[in-house]
């Protein structure tokens, strides 16, 4: 069975792990998952009124 041929065994193993660690992991790490935006409620508009505090 060709999967049991010992010659490329270690090379394939190390190569697959190398590509996994060098390419896949950094690519998946760069994905960011921002929070879903929450809808603004009407009360928030009235709480912080703009006051001209320096006059």
């Amino acid at each position: 069975m060709p999967q049991l041929i010992p010659t490329p065994w270690l090379a394939l193993l190390i190569f697959s792990w190398t590509i996994f660690s060098a390419i896949v992991l950094p690519k998946m790490l760069k994905h960011s998952f921002p929070d879903n935006p929450t809808p603004r409620s009407k009360q928030d508009l009235h709480k912080n009124k703009w006051d001209w505090s320096w006059h």
Binding site: M1, P8, L12, L13, F15, S16, W17, P26, M28
Partner: protein
């Protein structure tokens, strides 16, 4: 005849380039690195959504200390699904049909979770060798059986993926050879075999995704036991 059918799993080398290298490196062109922009294109957004859904699904039942494994297991899922599905295209080589690659992934990750469990909480990890509620008389036999099953896990993990993909590819090759051979002699049978081939291809697409998911799911279960 059987030996020549397995020849499709020989690691092919064309012009001194091992095709395994191309098969493992090239699919990542399909996965662009996310930009620092707030909005990305459709493919990136859908990949991002899929990654977040898959990660949350896998890590829901795992205790918070195990969530450090999120990057590793979700990247492994993407890696395996990509390798499996890319191998379904004609004239490609499936890296995950090789025992070396699957045993390398399975053995290393299984050993990682077991060593983690043994170092952080040895009593809890060893406690899994005796299931709760078992009769006291069966304790010695059960511990032996559970230890054997513990050590068979990496082999089962690797061989399961290899065997599923190898068997699928072999079946596709057999039915396609049969369809082609019968096309001139017995066309009606060839049409039925062609329908079988079509259904097999659908099955193989499903198996590709499912087997990758099962691999990662089992690893997450072993992690849940040990963390």
């Amino acid at each position: 005849m059987t030996l020549s059918l397995f020849d499709q799993f020989l690691s092919p080398v064309v012009c001194w380039i091992p095709l395994v290298a191309i098969a493992i490196i090239l699919p990542w062109i399909l996965f662009p690195s996310p930009t620092t922009r707030w909005l990305n294109n459709r493919s990136l957004t859908s990949q991002n959504w899929f990654l977040s859904q898959a990660t949350s699904q896998i890590f829901l039942p795992i205790n918070p200390p195990g969530h450090k494994w999120a990057l590793l297991l979700s990247s492994l899922l993407i890696f395996l699904t990509t390798m499996n599905t890319a191998g379904l295209l004609p004239y490609t080589f499936t890296p995950t049909s090789q025992l070396s690659i699957n045993m390398g992934l399975a053995g290393a990750l299984w050993m990682g979770v077991v060593i983690l469990g043994m170092r952080t909480q040895p009593t809890h990890s060893l406690g899994h060798l005796l299931p709760e509620g078992a009769p006291a008389l069966l304790t010695p036999i059960l511990v032996i059986i559970e230890t054997i099953s513990l050590f068979i896990r990496p082999i089962a993990l690797g061989v399961r993926l290899t065997a599923n993909l190898t068997a699928g590819h072999l079946l596709i090759q057999l039915t396609s050879t049969a369809t082609l051979a019968m096309l001139t002699i017995m066309p009606v049978t060839a049409i039925f075999t062609g329908i079988l081939l079509f259904l097999l291809a659908l099955l193989e697409a499903a198996v590709a995704l499912i087997q990758a998911y099962v691999f990662v799911l089992l690893l997450s279960l072993y992690l849940q036991e040990n963390v």
